[in-house]
Symmetry: none
Subunit: 155 residues, 2 copies
DNA sequence: TGATTTCCCATGGTATCCCATAAGAACCCA
DNA sequence: TGGGTTCTTATGGGATACCATGGGAAATCA
């Protein structure tokens, strides 16, 4: 079935907890990962989060470098050093760690953004800005592509 | 097999629900998708909706870029972050979310427009205007006054 | 032992489920 | 052909379940 879709903004409480959106929890449960896998994004002020599907995607990436090579070691350190495994409590909440706070600038609200095989954690205002930019880029990327075979386009 | 055809206008109730036209429900049932897949249209004030067939169309687009790359992230945010999976209740209704409201301007009535492999959700008055404009353009194109654009809506 | 984290329960608002009803379409049988 | 009957569909509304959030108590850590 489908993965992480849509976006939600929830509130951080006094203890630094935030509810993970219920639809995302359902996807994680199906995926079977214990807890959550989080890693800072290398190219934007967000944190990638997900379960086994995200993890295997990252593994696939690092396997492109042969083990024992300096490149592989450096990559491993970068990946594991920038990652965390937050627990999810009985009510479906996680705590926003200092690492996530520092990298995202989150203070009192958190935006969760579905990206199918993973989702991202954003500071709401920063997300709005990034999204506007992403939509511009997406339009450019898609229009350069071969047209999709839609027959019914009105006009 | 036959897809979504014709168009229907239904009423929003006090709870923000609206009946999905029965013929469309029949198509969705055949498609086998649980619920509905919705995504805002990038070139008009409408929302695209459908089942697996629409979803695979979206997936196809994003799979052209390798995961974890900046390009893929931007595209995933534009596509999946701007999507939703409304449920369909036992009576064949869906709720019009704030996202759909904002993007379409829907207040109390909803027009469903069949487009074969997907359908669109419109504010009725906006749809009338859009359709009239589309017909003018079609006529102009047929009479040879305007070079026929291959695809890709130029605003 | 004080501070922090984890577990558990409470609550208000909202979404979902379920049933009722009315209008219309299709159907059937004389 | 016509009139009655049954089904489907759109819509309304009450009851229930779910979810995000808050806070206390127990457990863990330094």
């Amino acid at each position: 079935m489908s993965g992480f879709v849509s976006h939600f903004t929830n509130r951080l409480d006094a203890k630094g907890r935030v509810s993970i959106p219920a639809p995302f929890r359902a996807v994680l449960a199906r995926d079977g990962f214990e807890g959550l896998y989080c890693i800072t994004s290398s190219h934007c002020e967000a944190v990638d989060a997900g379960g086994n599907e995200l993890l295997s995607e990252i593994n696939k990436r690092s396997e492109a470098f042969s083990k024992l090579s300096p490149d592989h070691d450096a990559l491993a350190i970068a990946l594991f050093g920038a990652s965390e495994n937050p627990k999810i409590d009985g009510d479906g909440r996680m705590v926003i760690s200092d690492m996530i706070r520092d990298h995202t600038g989150i203070t009192d609200h958190v935006t969760f953004v579905g990206m199918n095989y993973k989702f991202q954690i954003w500071e709401p205002e920063k997300f709005r800005e990034y999204r506007a930019e992403a939509q511009r880029r997406a339009l450019a990327m898609l229009s350069g592509q071969v047209p999709v075979p839609s027959q019914g386009e009105p006009a």
